[in-house]
């Protein structure tokens, strides 16, 4: 049973998050180990397994990027290994620029606004790619999925940059 089936949803990228959360809570109300705290150890073990699976399914489907990756895997899209190189030189150049941008934040005269601007830039570029991926995923063809997978890999890069930016922010604001 895949994660979409587990929640009785059809395997589409666009899902109703409010409904997902409602389904998640309903499922946890039936399987959570707390329901079996006075039961046998057998019941408790199965409850832990099911509850952990439902948690994982929920976390995967809730986060758009994780959901996209999961959906592509379900559709059997060919995935080169994570280390495989990109052929898109323009994208790689842009990544280097963005890394440089992050490295320079701490030397800015106004650190606050440099952080804010960096965040804006990352968010905007992420959104453009994300929308492209969303459209391709909706087409649900082998070719479109291949392209969507490229977008997905690129979005992962942006995600890493965003995490780095957050770390930087924490560092700069607590010093």
């Amino acid at each position: 049973m895949n994660y979409f089936q587990l929640f009785g949803l059809s395997a589409n990228f666009n899902i109703d998050l409010a409904k997902l959360s409602q389904l998640y809570q309903a499922l946890q109300k039936t399987v959570h180990p707390d329901r079996f705290a006075h039961g046998s150890s057998q019941q408790q073990m199965i409850a832990v397994q099911k509850s952990a699976m439902i948690n994982d399914a929920y976390q995967t489907l809730k986060k758009p990027l994780e959901r996209a990756g999961y959906l592509l895997k379900l559709r059997g899209t060919e995935m080169p290994s994570e280390q495989a190189s990109f052929s898109d030189n323009q994208f790689l150049m842009r990544q280097m620029d963005l890394r440089e941008m992050l490295a320079e934040v701490k030397f800015a005269d106004d650190v606050d606004s440099a952080l804010f601007e960096a965040n804006q830039t990352l968010e905007q570029e992420f959104l453009v790619l994300f929308k492209a991926m969303q459209t391709r995923l909706a087409q649900n063809t082998i070719d479109a999925d291949k392209l969507a997978y490229e977008d997905f890999r690129k979005l992962k890069f942006y995600q890493k940059l965003q995490i780095e930016l957050e770390r930087l922010e924490e560092q700069l604001l607590t010093d």
């Binding site: 946890q28 109300k29 959570h32 006075h38 150890s41 057998q42 019941q43 199965i46 397994q49 976390q59």
Partner: protein
């Protein structure tokens, strides 16, 4: 008006007997026990009418004193009287000595298993907690008139795996059945949430004697979903006392090291002064000794200056946790104050300023955690089968493994909802490598040395292969108590070698059994009797739950399947009459195994029912 319910004929809805259960707040400074009596959670008192038990244990020559009685020895007999043992539990010696350099105890034991030298011999901090738990258990049994089926024990949300495991070990040594370890802020939310029936995001600010927790929860139709939790497992009211003590020492021109008696006396004075300053603008501290008069005045302003930095530290943790929860201050509809240290006016005003709303304090901050734990214990014991309440908690700190270069690879991120199971694959570094050292760590930092080491084990018997060819799958499982279990398996050749470890920073099973034996007066006979009894209780619990399941869902099984289970039930029932614990345990195991498929089918059926219920709602 609510309609009265009538059962279908023949269905087993006979109201089962009320099971006695209690919630225990095992605090750094004070501990409490509470239970639901006639539908209402209330703290339980001792003979003199006090519900608060100072978390102090004094090891006298021929007795173990707990609470107020122990407190009277805290100054005169500091070496043998352990206060704030919760700060020591599940910690290494180095950790303890660097955080609390002026403790009056003589530490023995090895680095990972510190013990305190007392006149009753070496005492482990786990033992101290066990003695407090035993005391509270006795109180609860007297107040409720029977043996407890189980307890919920609260721990700071920020407690790491070793500290949680040690707390559970303490309960085991005290002979308690732990239904759940519950995070203190979540317990407080339960106590408040049920009262007010609110929906939305709430923040729980919990500043106790030794620990600080901040938890952000979303409430929705009986579900308490913890979005993020943060804090400091070594920051609390005790630290305010330390700041005051340091101030007094400076003003009085004293130089350390001071005598143990003097240290204890100063910290009691500091604690008293701190409490006075919650209602007074200044306080006189009298430290006259042997006819040498000396006193000083401590103003509220000076006190606020001394603790301001610590309070700010808690607010920084609040900011970080809100960010983790992806919530802004405007989303927070309510702030709940928990823990005795939230009585301090500066703490209240700073929290109010930070969250831009006045915090909830209507339930006594000393009792709110125990009350929440009691409500949860009542539900977990099975006394409220129709309850809609569900707690979805998270792990407070990331879990990971050591990889090449002394780095930590995170396997489960902090604030992941529990229970959780995650697997990650690793490979060998050298050609022909046949073993792999697995080092399990907890914490947010990237370097091994900056994280908490939880366990180490070796996976042996990997078939020799070229470097990078082996696939070692390491699985992390965190249960609903927040406790971790790790297993590793080599899978590339189809040859599976597997090892399971439980993080045992504190005590191994042998040591725990030894401590249980030691705690019994008539050692051998007692422990055997206790083990038999434990297995008998477990057997009847298993039989009862399986019979109830058969009555409800027998339709999921064929008649041969039913008779297999029924046979296992009757043979277990027969064996239970005997007094050999191992035999009963084996029979329970057989019965459990015979019901594995049934349990799985029931669970799947209930998932289907839950889903169909949802789609009906939508129509």
């Amino acid at each position: 008006m609510a309609l009265l319910q009538i059962a279908e004929p023949g269905q087993s809805t006979v109201p089962h007997e009320h099971r006695l259960a209690a919630g225990i707040d095992l605090g750094t400074t004070n501990s409490l026990v509470a239970s639901v009596k006639s539908g209402e959670a209330q703290t339980l008192n001792d003979e003199s009418g006090n519900d608060i038990l100072p978390s102090i244990v004094s090891y006298q020559a021929d007795s173990v004193l707990v609470g107020e009685q122990a407190k009277s020895h805290a100054i005169s007999d500091a070496e043998n009287t352990i206060v704030s043992a919760k700060r020591l539990i599940g910690r290494s010696l180095e950790d303890i000595q660097s955080k609390y350099p002026s403790l009056p105890y003589t530490f023995c034991g090895d680095e990972n298993h510190p013990e305190i030298q007392t006149r009753q011999g070496l005492i482990n901090p786990v033992q101290v907690s066990a003695d407090i738990l035993k005391h509270l258990n006795t109180r609860a049994e007297q107040a409720l008139g029977g043996e407890l089926t189980g307890v919920v024990i609260t721990v700071p949300a920020h407690f790491d795996d070793a500290q949680r495991q040690s707390t559970k070990d303490a309960a085991k040594i005290a002979g308690l059945n732990v239904l759940r370890l519950l995070n203190e802020p979540t317990a407080a939310a339960v106590a408040y949430g049920l009262d007010s029936g609110q929906e939305g995001v709430i923040a729980i600010y919990d500043l106790g004697g030794g620990t600080f927790d901040i938890s952000i929860l979303r409430l929705n139709k009986g579900v308490f979903e913890v979005l993020a939790t943060g804090g400091d497992s070594a920051l609390g009211g005790d630290d305010f006392d330390v700041a005051v003590v340091d101030h007094i020492i400076e003003k009085a021109n004293l130089t350390r090291p001071l005598s143990n008696v003097m240290e204890r006396q100063l910290s009691q004075q500091a604690c008293w002064a701190k409490e006075q300053l919650s209602t007074h603008d200044s306080v006189d501290i009298d430290l006259s000794q042997g006819g040498k008069p000396w006193s000083m005045c401590l103003s509220k302003a000076t006190f606020n200056g001394l603790i301001g930095g610590l309070v700010n530290k808690t607010l920084r943790a609040c900011r970080r946790t809100l960010k983790d929860a992806e919530i802004t201050i405007d989303d927070v509809i309510e702030v709940v104050m928990v823990g005795g240290s939230t009585r301090i006016p500066l703490v209240r005003s700073e929290v109010e300023k930070h969250f831009q709303k006045s915090p909830l304090t209507s339930i006594d901050p000393d009792k709110v955690v125990a009350i929440g734990a009691a409500i949860q214990a009542d539900i977990l014991a099975g006394n409220k089968p129709d309850s809609d309440m569900l707690l979805l908690d998270v792990i407070p700190l990331s879990l990971g493994l050591e990889i090449m270069g002394g780095l930590v690879e995170k396997v489960i991120a902090r604030n992941t909802t529990i229970p959780v199971a995650k697997a990650q694959e690793f490979t060998t570094f050298k050609d022909g490598q046949t073993a792999m050292a697995v080092h399990v760590l907890q914490g947010e930092r990237e370097l091994v040395e900056d994280c908490r080491s939880l366990a180490r084990f070796e996976l042996r018997g990997i078939p020799p292969m070229t470097a990078g060819a082996a696939h070692i799958r390491v699985t992390f499982k965190v249960d609903a108590d927040g406790l971790l279990e790790v297993s590793a398996m080599e899978k590339s050749t189809g040859v599976e070698s597997k090892i399971e470890v439980k993080p045992s920073f504190g005590l191994d099973d042998k040591k725990i059994t030894q401590m249980i034996v030691d705690s019994m007066t008539n050692a051998k006979g007692d422990i055997q009797a206790r083990m038999v009894k434990e297995q008998q209780v477990e057997a009847s619990r298993v039989i009862e739950s399986i019979q109830a399941a058969l009555a409800e869902d027998g339709k999921l099984l064929s008649s041969p399947e039913i008779s297999v289970i029924e046979d296992a039930i009757s043979s277990l029932a027969k064996i239970t009459q005997t007094s050999i614990a191992a035999d009963i345990e084996a029979a329970i195991e057989i019965l459990n195994e015979s019901t594995a498929t049934f349990a799985e089918r029931r669970m799947d059926a209930s998932i289907r029912t839950a889903l169909s219920g949802q789609s009906v709602d939508e129509v």
